[in-house]
Symmetry: C2
Subunit: 388 residues, 2 copies
Amino acid sequence: MAFSERVTRLKSSLIREILAAAQRPEVMSFAGGLPAECMLPKVEWADMPLTLGQYGMSEGEPELREALAAEARALGVPCEASQVLVVSGSQQTLDLAAKLYIDKGTEVLLEAPTYLAALQIFQLFGADCLTVPLQAEGPDLIALRQRLEQHKPAFAYLIPTFQNPSAVRYSEASRDAVAALLDEFGVTLIEDEPYRELTFDGGNAKPIVARLNKASWIYTGTVSKTLLPGLRVGYLIASPDLFPHLLRLKQSADLHTNRIGQWQALQWIGTEHYREHLAELREFYRQRRNAFEAALQEHFADLADWNSPQGGLFFWLTLKQKLDTRTLLDAALSQDVTFMPGEPFFADPDVNHGYLRLNFSHIDPARLDEGLKRLAAVIRKAVTRQAA
Amino acid sequence: MAFSERVTRLKSSLIREILAAAQRPEVMSFAGGLPAECMLPKVEWADMPLTLGQYGMSEGEPELREALAAEARALGVPCEASQVLVVSGSQQTLDLAAKLYIDKGTEVLLEAPTYLAALQIFQLFGADCLTVPLQAEGPDLIALRQRLEQHKPAFAYLIPTFQNPSAVRYSEASRDAVAALLDEFGVTLIEDEPYRELTFDGGNAKPIVARLNKASWIYTGTVSKTLLPGLRVGYLIASPDLFPHLLRLKQSADLHTNRIGQWQALQWIGTEHYREHLAELREFYRQRRNAFEAALQEHFADLADWNSPQGGLFFWLTLKQKLDTRTLLDAALSQDVTFMPGEPFFADPDVNHGYLRLNFSHIDPARLDEGLKRLAAVIRKAVTRQAA
């Protein structure tokens, strides 16, 4: 069996395995990043034209591209519809970016921690992952400058707004500083923003790509967190120098994004009923965040520290006693509770023990307290054993 | 700008450019592979459960996988639902296979001619393409044995049933011989079958993967040619040794295939109303094939030779006077007619002049005669000029 060299770096996905385990109805899962089922909006299909069954354009549906460009301009991103590429969920943007930039040994710059599925695909293509520690207001700027002085990464991949997993949102000052550094060193920015709309304090900072003067950029978003993930409709907006390459890579990947989902997305993007839905969603998740934090205070105050997330879907816990959180999974599952260990969110997992990502959007509120109580007990037991 | 080495092999897609030109309503296009609009079935969405809006499994919807496995078993392919991976159109199977097998310089074995989008993605990943000439009943078996004796390709990519572009269907004897050779040399088979259901003479030969005893295999199909391409729902079925790798690659590419299209596909696969629709579709295309062939006889008898396709969507013409058919495109477009040059379907286009692929399924019958007449005139003029 002669597979590609790449396949030697194809890891079993911890996420997939945890999510599979979480399918058992008795399991209380803090592991995934799933929207709450009850907040999936009711969608109508009756008016969809039959002609959408035909093959479509690789770029995406023209009207949807116009609508997405208008939304991005409203955020301050200078762009035209011709720069918008509709993709099969924003995961595909990572695949296209990996193909565009990464050979074996190509250096790329990531936050630590970062989104683990991005890490996986960049590593699959053979990237050497440079990292910059994430702090409460954004990346460590001294470390960022050092990396840029000492290396020439093909791109910086950043998730500045309610990052998965850490929930960090870059401050205004941090956004400006990062943009200035990327311009100074001429490094392309990939800015991933799946969680921007899920803001609990109304904050709406301008994207970093909108603060760049020279560097090339890809801005990426999705309807998966606010409308329906099952549609698999995401998008990227790229600086004009990058767009033609990304378009050809999209075409070779799957010809075009499904038109049914694109049509449904178009019924929402930029409309008043979408704004109303988003307002409800923010309020709903804000309440879930509050309830979750109250339960955390009760069960985890002695075990971990955290910042209260101002948006997104996750709490990021730092254990007071470091331990490899992957070793807790079996014990947690035996208690019908699961979570995401922090290690896989780091390029160097074995020196980054002691973090947990807990999703607060999807758990049934009636089981929240019991779930966190059980998880705390599992951790407490492991801490005690480690101390012994 | 530092792109990957791969991007130097990213060609502008001739297909995309021709299809873009063909968007002008006055253009009579024989270029694409589009189903006839009037044969797109009316689909109902009213009963789709809202829960399908949630994230799904990377493998695909369980019921759809069961239905696809049952269909494949009925063709003689020994498989279980656990071997079925639903993909975002069968183009994605090519992307996943390229990732699984191809490093720079990896040898792969293809038909000549072959599907150009397969050629493009295999070459994008750096494959060295070995080829075997296609004859009326299948590949040149002496050449195939020679290639296998002299090389060790990572896989053979074959389209044995109404190939795009040549419309060739392998005979029973050819299928057996190919399977025996791949078993003998232990070469993995990727068998691509988008056109199997579009048979005009009722032929239904067992797939080659069903005739293998030892070699690994990937069998790939789609609903794009028989239901709705805009759904972007295809599938692969793989031997159990390959499946786990393909599944992880699928997850890293786009998490999972859109569930809306999967649900719609499930409403059809294996049902009586799908069988009725397929019967109508075959009769409709058979009549279009007949009308097309009559018009070809009238306008092209002195210019080209062809075999009458027994299925699929294309005529493959061999010009009596060889010339680079790519050079005809501008002249054809100036006459508001377009077609697919044959050269891009060959790994070595510059030594394979003189073929044209003509789609017969999509053209308005009222414009068929005028379109072929204009195209013949363009070719006749070029032949005359070449002779001068």
